[in-house]
Symmetry: D2
Subunit: 201 residues, 4 copies
C-alpha cells in the first residue's frame, strides 16, 4: 500500500517546516501498518497555474499526479494562513481538479477507492475550517474521507510559538494523528477489497 | 441496511419542500439497493438547543439520535440560506456533537463505520460550501464521507425559480444523486465487512 | 448612537454565557464612546424558522428587527460549535435575510449606513471562520464591516477551560475588543455624516 | 482617489480572462466617479511564496504592495476553483498578511481607512463563499468592507458556458457591480473625511 504526502508549506527546503514535522508523525505510524509514503514539498517544485494535469515543459506537477494515481492514500498537509489553506494547497487542489474527468476503462473517476486525510499546523486559529475546505474539495474530486482522518496543532489567539518551538499541545496532535493514520489505512483496505461502483448513467 | 435522512428545510409540513424532493430521489435509488430510509423533517420536531443527546422532556432529538445509531448511512439534506447550511442543519450538527464522546465497548466513536452524504437545494449560489461545511463537521464526529457522496441544485445569481418550479438542471442533479446513492451504499458495505479500528491510545 | 447585540449562545438565562462575558466588554467600551446597547439573548426568545421578518403570532423576532433598524451598530456574538457559528446565529442571519429587500423611500436597503462586528468564543478552534461566515452574510444584507471589527477567544486543540474559567489569553481578547468597539463607532459616525448612495438602476 | 485591482485569474495574458471582463465593468463605473484604477494580473507577475512584503530579488509583489498603499480602494477579482478563491487570490492574501503589522506613525495598520470589494466569476457554484473568504481575510488585515461591495457571475450545476460565452445573467452581474462601485467610492470618501482611530492600548 502506498501513500502520497503533499506538504503545502510556503517555506522551501532546507528551512524547517512545522507542517512536515506533524505530517511525518502520521507517515511514521502508517509505515508501521505497511504503508510506504512518497512526500512532496510543493514549495520546492516548479508548479504551473491551471486546472489541467499537463501544463507544458518545466511543470513538475505530472510526477506528483503520477504518485497520487499510484497511491491508495493521499495526505494533504498545510499551514494556516489568514485562516485558510495555503496558496500551495489550493494550487494542488486546482491541479487535482482535472482528476474529476480522468476516468478508468470502467468510467470511474481515478480518485475512486482512494482515501484522503488532512494535517494542519499554524500558530493561529483555523484548523477545522482548513480541514473542511480541503476535505470538501477532495470529496468533490472523488476521494473518500474516513472518519476523523485529520490532525492539527495550533494555539489560541495572538502571537505565540510554533509547533516546533513548544511541546504544549503536541501530544494531543500526535495521538489524533495516530487515529488518523489507522483510519486512513483501514478504510483504504476496505475499499481495496470492495471497490466503489461505476457512476450510474 | 438502514439510512436516516435529516431534511433541514425551514418549512414545516405540509408545505412542499424542494429539499425533500431532491433528497427523495436519492432515497429511492438507495431503496433499489436494499436500503430502508427513515426520514425526519426537522422543522416539524421540537428540538432543544445544546450539544448533548438528552436535553430534557419534550425534546424530540433522542429518537432521531436512535435512528442515526441504528443506521449505516446518514443523509443531511439542507437548503442554502445566505450561502450557509440552514439553522436546522447546524442544530442537528450541534446535537450530533455529543456523538464524538459516545463510544462503544471497544472505545470507538459511535459514528465509526457509518457513512454520510449531503443534498443541497437553493435558488442561490452556495452548494459546494454547504457540502464542505456539513461534511467537514460529520468527519469530525466520525462519519466517513464517500467520494462524490453529494448532489445539489441551484441556478445562477439573482432571483429565479426553485427546484420544483423548473425542470432546468434537474436531470444533472438527479444523475449526480444516483452516483451519491451508489457510493454511500458501496462504502457502507465495505466498512460493514471491514470495520474501522479502535483509536490508538 | 445605538447598538444592538445578539448573543447567539445556545444556553438560556440564567446560565452564565462566556459569549456574553466577552461581548459585554465590547459593549462597555462602546458605552464610553456614547453608544447605548440593547442586548438580546436569542436562546431566551421564541424565534420562528424562516426568512421573513413577520412569521406569525408568538414569534419574538419582530422586536429584535425593530431594534436593529433603530441602531447604527450591530454586534453578533456567537459561540463556536463544530467549527461553525451557532444555530441561533444562523437563525438570526436567516431572519435578517428579509432585510435585503426591505428598502427605504430612497430605494436603499435598510442595512445601509449600519456597521456590524463579530464576537466569538469557544474552547475549540474556529473563530476566524465564524467571523468570515457571519461578516460575509452581513455584507450581503447591506451592513458595512469596519476593519478589524471583531474579537475572539479560544484555546488550542483538545479539551480545555472556557473563557470564564481561565484568564489565559483574556487580555488579548479584551484589547482586540477595544479596537473593535472604536472601529465600529468611528465608521458608524463616518457613514452617518456621509451616507451610502441609493443603488444605481 | 485611486484603486488597485488584483485579477487573480490562473490564466496569463494575452488569454482572455472572464474575471477581468466583469472586474473591468466595475472599474469603468468607478472611473465615472473619478477613481483611477491600476490593475495587476497576478498570473503575469513573478510572486514569491511567503507572508512578508519583501521576499528578495525578482519578486514583483513590492510594487503591487506600493500600489495598494497608494490606493483608497482595493478590488480582489478571482475565479472560483473547486469552490474556493484561486491560489493566486490566496497568495495575494498571504502577502497582504504582512500589512497587519505594518503601521503608520500613529500606530494604525496601513489598511485602515481603505475599503475593499470582491468580484467573482466561475462556471461553477461558489461565489458567496469566495466573497466571504476574501472579505473575511481583508477585514482581518484592516480593510473595511462596505455593504454589498461585491458582484459575481456563475450558472447552476454541471458544465456550462463562461461569462464571456453567454449573455445569460450578465445584466444582473453588471447592475450589482454598479452598486458595488458606488458603495466602495462612498465609503472610501466617508473614511477619508473621518478616519478610523488608532487602536486603543
Amino acid at each position: 500500500m502506498h501513500a502520497t504526502l503533499l506538504n503545502c508549506s510556503l517555506k522551501r527546503s532546507p528551512e524547517p517546516s512545522n507542517t512536515q514535522m506533524l505530517a511525518d508523525s502520521v507517515v511514521a505510524v502508517m509505515k508501521g501498518w505497511g504503508v510506504e509514503t512518497t512526500s512532496y514539498r510543493l514549495a520546492d517544485l516548479r508548479l504551473a497555474h491551471g486546472v489541467a494535469t499537463e501544463l507544458g515543459e518545466g511543470d513538475e506537477w505530472p510526477r506528483v499526479h503520477q504518485s497520487i494515481l499510484a497511491s491508495q492514500i493521499l495526505v494533504v498537509a498545510t499551514p494556516t494562513w489568514v485562516g485558510h489553506p495555503s496558496s500551495l494547497a489550493q494550487q494542488a487542489i486546482e491541479r487535482m481538479d482535472a482528476m474529476i474527468s480522468e476516468t478508468g476503462d470502467d468510467g470511474r473517476p481515478v480518485a475512486y477507492d482512494k482515501v484522503a486525510g488532512v494535517v494542519v499546523t499554524g500558530n493561529e486559529d483555523g484548523a477545522h475550517h482548513v480541514i473542511s475546505e480541503v476535505a470538501g474539495a477532495l470529496v468533490d474530486i472523488g476521494f473518500t474521507i474516513p472518519g476523523q482522518a485529520w490532525t492539527y496543532w495550533n494555539r489560541g489567539p495572538g502571537p505565540g510559538p510554533t509547533f516546533s518551538e513548544t511541546s504544549e499541545g503536541r501530544e494531543w496532535s500526535y495521538r489524533t494523528g495516530r487515529a488518523m493514520a489507522a483510519n486512513l489505512v483501514a478504510v483504504a483496505k476496505a475499499l481495496a477489497e470492495r471497490p466503489m461502483p461505476a457512476p450510474p448513467s
